[in-house]
């Protein structure tokens, strides 16, 4: 069974690697994905049947330990139980349908290979999440799912709108990762070595002895709930889901209709013992679900696009799942999940049929055809009060629904704008003033240390503030990619330094972390210099530069170094991030907050650099090297063609 677990986990990765090394040949990629989806299906079916034969046991499997020091263990833990079985079965069904569907649907599409690569990495991430045995592993899968989501939304990178929406979804993901990252750290802190999902339930078995204080459990639960509601587009993050429908229809179907959107529910199911322990957190989950149902079902009423409507219908159902979760109806949630996943996936796949469907099939068959049915706006109200709703309320309700509960505006003003504004202020401040402030702070602390004999670790406070400032400064500017890059690196280095001050024993961990960051920084800077060498200095870098098309190799390199720089689970920096958190903050818990914030903001800022530089549609302007060739030809042509124009006009 363990072998099958590993197979289910690794086959998508194998598929990813095979597609990656395969030539850009549709037929080969199709064959690879066909076999991989079937092998995955076989593994999953075998796993589930074996599990059923054995009498549905919950099974944990520790593959190997990735990293171990005396007080820190990072084992690769897998866990399989009823919830994993349902999710894995659903993944198999939908993934194999989508692969078959896309074989023909994406035929002759320029990004055929890119699409299958991202789909495989998505399923890989998804399986990690589903089979993970601890929050750390789950977080790794979570990140992979988030990144492949970003890439698929921005699949059509010629147009600014998919790129923007991809970034929006990525920011929400990233923000909600604060929840998960801090959550994983807290679970280390609270449960020590026993943060295995398999042991969670046991921990809470003794009602009289909760494994941690109510306060910290409440905090941990809230963090997990934030993570879950971001991924599942629940209150207050509903707005990103409809806007994420930018990739090819089947990718929207598998991500936002079927699987990705239910990951939040999965997270809650997994951590059920933690948050269901307390009524307050149950109530929070209930309220999130309830508010989501209200807002999403109202927003659905005024969606004039079919995918937007399906998105809100799906969000509503996930809201119901949250409510069901808060009542502890786990089985019902699982059934509901399956129903919603299949229904929305199907609806999205056939969404192009809506024109013909409404005009020809339904319009004739249903007597309540709603074209020309003048006022059914309040048909959901009882007939007796329907006509008594004053106009101002009608308008209010309409505006509320049109603006989707104002959630985007809310999140923007509460989170995005303040960060951006702070970044602007930091960037406007002159270098000398910054240096002066730094000097003063250092002197003050030195004085304090000398005079009163305070601990060296207090140095960590100004350093971590400096780290957040550096991140914010990266976030606050768009048009200077190199300084953004430097600021991100600076912030990471400051993080390392702060950790050293807090816990001088953490040297190897910091080294591990920086060993991921430094090469990424250097490569990134080199690539940026190369990319920007030909850039016209007068031209603003605010516009999109489409370098993924004009300079594909350098862009790929930039993308990779961006991933490493922001601690994606392909670089040692990912592990380092986790280590820094757990090390430093086991001594000083406050440190977890600034470091997480800095990591999150760094991710967003880095993504923005990549987005501005590499995406967009190329025009004559962008192509500097070729421009030389055309210039040579042009003179002889200009005369000739001018003559033609004169003649003809």
């Amino acid at each position: 069974m363990n072998g099958l677990l590993l197979a289910s986990l690794l086959i998508p990765l194998l598929g990813f690697v095979l597609v990656f090394v395969a030539p850009n040949n549709e037929k080969k990629i199709a064959t690879i994905s066909f076999w991989c989806s079937h092998a995955l299906g076989a593994a999953i079916v075998a796993l589930i049947s074996l599990w059923a034969i054995n009498g549905f046991p919950s099974q944990e499997f520790e593959w190997f330990t990735l990293y171990a020091t005396d007080d820190y263990l990072f084992p690769i833990l897998l866990y399989f139980d009823r919830i994993s079985a349902v999710y894995l079965g659903c993944v198999w069904a939908i993934f194999s349908i989508i692969v078959k569907y896309c074989r023909i649907y994406l035929h002759r599409e320029a990004g055929y290979k890119r699409f299958f690569l991202t789909i495989f990495s998505f399923v890989f991430g998804l399986n990690i999440v589903i089979l993970s045995g601890s929050i750390d592993i789950l977080f790794a899968g979570w990140e992979i799912v988030g990144m492949s989501s970003f890439l698929l939304i921005a699949f059509y990178r010629h147009r600014p709108q998919p790129i923007r929406n991809a970034l929006r979804a990525y920011c929400i993901y990233r923000f909600c990762d604060i929840g998960l990252l801090l959550g994983s750290w807290m679970s280390h802190l609270l449960f020590h070595e026993s943060q295995h999902f398999s042991q969670l339930a046991n921990l809470f078995d003794h009602n009289s002895f909760p494994p941690a204080g109510y306060g910290s459990l409440l905090l941990l639960s809230s963090l997990i709930i934030i993570g879950a509601s971001g991924k599942s587009a629940q209150f207050p993050f509903c707005f990103w889901l409809p806007r994420a429908m930018e990739g090819p229809t089947p990718s929207s179907a598998i991500f936002y209709g079927a699987l990705s959107v239910h990951l939040g529910v999965f997270l809650l199911l997994r951590t059920d013992p933690i948050w269901s322990y307390h009524y307050l957190t149950r109530f929070i989950v209930f309220m999130i679900g309830f508010l989501t149902v209200v807002i999403a079902s109202l927003s659905e009423k005024t969606q004039s696009s079919i995918k937007g409507q399906i998105a809100y219908a799906s969000i509503t159902q996930v809201g119901f799942m949250f409510i069901e979760l808060s009542f502890g109806l786990e089985t019902l949630v699982l059934i509901h999940f399956l129903g919603n996943a299949f229904l929305r996936c199907y609806q999205l796949l056939v969404s192009p049929s809506i024109v013909a469907h409404l005009l020809r099939v339904e319009g004739s068959a249903d007597t309540d055809f709603y074209i020309n049915s003048s006022d059914n706006k309040f048909s959901f109200l009882p007939a007796s009060i329907r006509n008594t709703v004053p106009e101002v309320l009608q308008n209010t309700l309409y505006v509320f629904s049109l603006q989707e509960g104002n959630l985007e505006i809310l999140v923007r003003t509460l989170i995005w704008e303040p960060l951006k504004r702070t970044g602007f202020v930091i960037n406007k401040t002159g270098l000398w003033i910054k240096a002066l402030y730094t000097l003063i702070v250092i002197l003050l602390i030195l004085v304090a240390i000398q005079g009163i004999g305070t601990d060296m670790s207090y140095f960590a406070i100004p350093i971590s503030i400096g780290m957040v400032f550096a991140s914010l400064s990266a976030f606050g500017q768009i048009n200077k990619p190199i300084s953004v890059w430097n600021a991100i690196t600076l912030s990471s280095f400051l993080a390392g330094m702060a950790v050293l001050f807090i816990n001088p024993q953490a040297k190897p961990d910091v080294a591990l972390f920086l060993s991921g960051i430094t090469p990424a920084w250097l490569i990134g800077i080199a690539v940026l210099f190369k990319l920007l060498k030909h850039q016209d200095s007068s031209e603003s870098l605010f516009a999109y530069h489409a370098m993924a098309e004009t300079r594909p190799k350098l862009s790929l390199l930039l993308f990779l170094s961006f991933l490493c720089l922001v601690g994606f689970p392909i670089s040692p920096a990912f592990l380092g991030e986790d280590l820094l958190l757990s090390h430093a903050s086991s001594h000083d818990p406050w440190f977890a907050l600034p470091i997480t914030i800095a990591f999150i903001i760094n991710g967003v800022a880095g993504a923005r650099v990549f987005q501005r530089l590499c995406m967009g549609r190329p025009t004559e302007l962008c192509n500097e090297e070729d421009a030389i060739i055309t210039n040579e030809i042009k003179p002889s042509f200009n005369n000739a063609s001018k003559k033609v124009i004169e003649e003809t006009s």
Partner: protein
């Protein structure tokens, strides 16, 4: 058609400064917008109608500078065709010669044409992407479009929505501006971003004042107003174009709306101002105060001066001439093969002019020389609005240039056979509205059932779930109310049905057009066409272009009914068209995607048996299989064997697969239009590239029939041709991009994602194999008579004079060919070495071929 007087010309600086004439400016700029109506009727038209008054190459270059689009294919495509021999040296010479440049410059161009080129496939710097507005926005570092568009598109989408959203936004007869004002001013929640104090004050004024005030604040200089507005609406041509169309023709929507481009501009400007003030403060830098790069186009100094890339232009013309001369060479009079002896046909079949019918006709004739085919515009001369049994509303069944006055309704001749099928819940897509709790219940219970349905649809696409009725499968057990019973018009002003003399006018008109006024066979089959596809919002673009994007079945049925009626025949007899008593007209519809045929009104056959119908049906089903195989050569994933059954199965599956973005390739590679007797083209293999219209030159000494034909052929076939051409040349600007991320908005059109602009033009899946060459119309008529005809086609002459389509006269007797130019007819001289390849049957030509095939001469062994 486009009015010459109103074509866009820039304002000159002086008058602009004095008075900014808003209505005139809006009128001017609206000419640059696409004119594609709601997606339910897809009407092909010249994508670049805005520059149609200019010669082709200049117009295309100007449009490129305005919209930021490419003008030609990438250089390497032409070079590859040259290496493959599809572009001949003769054609390159011909094209170079037409540039009228000195010989030595021609030689220079010829040299550069063969050099590798890496930059020409990038679109040019343009007004839409690099104009003053974009320079300014980049300078102040504000993504105004990203802020304003989602809000504007949501308002527009909900205002114009035809049935997707549950709540309707506008009240009865309310206009867009009033509607937005109602939401902004009379709601407890602010309508974002109009809650800004300065903007709130503005909203009390009327929309003209609002536009002026906003422009003054944002732009500053009245000379730049027009350009700013133009660039602003060119950032979302899809919605702006849709608004303009609804403004000019509210009836293009089922549920009419009151909206104008001016209101759109007012709302957009107000939103822009609100965001500018919010993000940049009240004293933001306006457009006039932004330093412009020196090469920025200023509209006040005239339209951009495009540079026509000469080598590409020459390549393009050479490609077109190579392809055109393939046909012209094949049409040259040849040594007659030993007299065939005109076999008297036992069946005559009328087909639509459509290029997709070209091969089917060839196969029919190949299989049975006793079948004679004719081509005519697929509405078969009968123009009416049609409301089928299943239709919620009547639709026009004729080319868009004709405004029908008659309404025809269909009624069931027996009890509705599919009443119970629709009650079956799994056949519904569950898109319809239901309450929140019911939604919860449905998802819980029905949801899992969809896993089975989805798996079925994806893994077994060809087989249908029983009882599930597919679109476009027309029931043939119905009855058309064709005969007018009284003359009172309906409330919409239409006449219900036709009188006998009106019927005779239409039937006789068509018969005269195609030159069939005697020698009727005992059986005449009228074959309309339609196309069935699933999961395809562009379905209307797959149906009959001459029926405004509808299946032509009602027209064929109407025609057959009329032509069978004794009273109509009596009137026709008086007019010199004698239809023998034993001749029967039978209506049928060819499904071009599934390659199936449906015969209508079979219940009448007992009463009036049609002689030879069963033989014809057998031949037809065989021909359809051959036709399916010929189509399969284009499908990379289709069967490559010569087995016809496999091919036919493949096309059937293809048309019913939800994951197939290419149910068929429609008019891809359309290239020729031949108005002639069938005799001229009967032995030609034209690779499904020709629109074929039957015409008898001997019966048209005055050219009047030619006028009628040309006025339908030029806009319909020319429109199809140019829409394919431009969608192919720059799919992201002129076309709709790839179908895969499309999202249906309000039943109006498709957009990318939820908040994108409406996409006009054709999706890349329809045009990717198209060779973008202009249409060559060959008319079998002498130049003199054609001149007479051309004098009477009105505005359409612009298409010919400016080379948007080419016309060649082929003399009916001598076969001499002359090319039409604005300066007169030029004799077509092809080198003697031009030999049309020959083959004995179509099968030999198509097997193993995956690209376009030159015109072949078919040498029939027997008969």
């Amino acid at each position: 058609m486009l009015n010459h007087a109103q074509t866009p010309t820039p304002l000159d600086g002086h008058s602009a400064a004095l008075a900014f004439d808003m209505d005139r400016v809006i009128d001017h700029i609206s000419h640059w917008l696409p004119t594609q109506g709601p997606i339910k009727d897809f009407i092909h038209h010249n994508t670049l109608h805005a520059v149609q008054h200019l010669p082709f190459h200049e117009g295309v270059a100007l449009a490129g500078k305005m919209f930021g689009a490419r003008s030609y294919l990438p250089m390497e495509n032409y070079q590859r065709m040259y290496r493959q021999g599809r572009i001949t040296d003769h054609a390159v010479d011909w094209a170079l010669n037409r540039t009228e440049l000195p010989v030595q410059q021609q030689a220079q161009i010829r040299q550069t044409m063969l050099e590798p080129d890496h930059s020409s496939h990038y679109p040019p710097v343009s007004l839409a992407n690099h104009g003053i507005r974009n320079v300014w926005l980049n300078r102040i570092e504000l993504e105004l479009n990203a802020l304003v568009h989602p809000i504007l598109f949501r308002l527009l989408g909900n205002f114009l929505d035809q049935g997707i959203s549950r709540w309707t936004l506008p009240k009865e007869g309310e206009c867009f501006w009033d509607c937005v004002m109602r939401l902004a001013q009379n709601s407890l929640l602010p309508l974002y971003p109009l809650q800004e104090p300065i903007v709130r004050e503005l909203l009390t004024k009327n929309k003209e004042d609002v536009i002026l005030i906003c422009l003054e604040k944002i732009v500053g200089d009245p000379c730049l107003y027009e350009q700013y507005l133009l660039e602003m609406i060119l950032a979302h041509p899809g919605w702006a174009g849709m608004v303009r169309i609804v403004e000019e023709n509210p009836r293009s929507l089922l549920d009419p709306r009151n909206i104008s481009l001016k209101e759109l501009i007012a709302v957009e400007l107000v939103c822009e101002l609100a965001f500018l003030i919010k993000q940049k403060g009240a004293a933001f830098v306006n457009v006039n105060n932004t330093p412009l790069p020196k090469d920025t186009t200023l509209l006040k100094e005239g339209l951009p001066k495009p540079v026509i890339p000469l080598s590409l232009k020459v390549w393009h013309e050479a490609m077109e001439w190579s392809l055109h001369s393939e046909l012209l060479a094949a049409l040259k009079p040849k040594q007659k093969s030993p007299a065939k002896g005109p076999t008297k046909p036992y069946v005559q079949a009328f087909f639509c002019i459509d290029d997709r019918e070209c091969s089917l006709r060839r196969y029919l004739e190949e299989l049975d020389p006793g079948i004679e085919t004719f081509g005519a515009a697929g509405f078969f001369g009968i123009d009416f609005l049609y409301q089928g049994l299943d239709d919620a509303y009547p639709v026009a069944q004729c080319p868009v240039i004709i405004k029908p006055k008659h309404l025809i309704r269909e009624s069931g001749s027996q009890a509705n056979p599919d009443g119970d099928a629709k009650a079956d819940s799994i056949t519904h897509l569950h898109f319809q509205s239901h309450s929140v709790l019911r939604g919860w219940l449905y998802t819980q219970t029905l949801g899992i059932g969809y896993a089975a349905r989805m798996a079925w649809d994806v893994f077994r696409p060809g087989s249908k779930i029983p009882k599930l009725k597919m679109l476009s499968e027309v029931d043939s057990h119905t009855h058309l109310h064709l005969l007018r019973e009284n003359d009172t018009p309906t409330e919409d002003g239409y006449l219900l049905g036709f009188s006998f003399s009106e019927m005779a006018d239409r039937v006789g008109g068509l018969l005269t057009n195609i030159g069939l006024t005697k020698h009727f066979a005992p059986l005449v089959v009228i074959v309309a066409h339609g196309s069935s596809s699933v999961n395809n919002p562009h379905f209307a673009a797959y149906d009959c272009g001459a029926c405004s994007g509808k299946p032509g079945a009602p027209n064929a049925r109407a025609f057959a009914w009329m032509a069978n009626h004794d009273e109509v025949r009596r009137i026709l007899y008086d007019r010199g068209i004698e239809i023998p008593v034993e001749t029967r007209f039978i209506a049928a519809m060819h499904n071009t995607s599934r390659d199936e045929i449906n015969y209508f009104d079979n219940h009448l056959l007992d009463q009036h048996p049609a002689k030879g119908l069963s033989t014809f049906q057998k031949i037809m089903s065989k021909a359809l299989q051959f036709n399916a195989r010929e189509r399969c050569r284009w499908f990379e994933l289709g069967p490559k064997s010569s087995l016809v059954d496999l091919a036919h199965d493949h096309v059937t599956t293809r048309a019913s697969s939800i994951f197939e973005p290419r149910p068929e390739l429609n008019h891809s590679n359309n290239l020729y239009c031949i108005i002639a007797r069938r005799k001229l083209t009967r032995d030609l293999f034209m690779d499904r590239r020709a629109f074929l219209h039957s015409y008898d030159p001997d019966k048209d000494p005055s050219g009047n029939i030619m006028v009628r034909i040309l006025s339908a052929v030029i806009p319909v076939c020319g429109g199809i041709n140019l829409e394919y051409l431009f969608s192919r040349i720059d799919n992201s600007v002129y076309g709709a991009g790839t179908k895969l991320p499309h999202n249906v908005i309000g039943l109006l059109g498709v957009a990318n994602g939820v908040e994108g602009d409406l996409r006009t033009g054709l999706p890349s899946q329809m045009i990717e194999v198209h060779e973008p060459a202009r249409l060559l119309i060959v008319a079998e008529q002498s130049c003199a008579i054609l001149d007479k005809a051309l004098a009477n086609i009105g505005d359409l002459k612009e298409w010919l004079d400016n080379d948007w389509v080419r016309l060649v006269s082929c003399h009916p007797a001598s076969g001499e060919q002359f090319l039409y130019t604005a300066d007169g007819w030029q004799a077509v001289e092809l080198p003697a070495s031009f030999n049309t390849p020959t083959a004995s049957q179509s099968e030999d030509i198509i097997l193993g071929q995956t690209e376009t095939i030159p015109v072949h001469q078919l040498i029939r062994s027997t008969s």
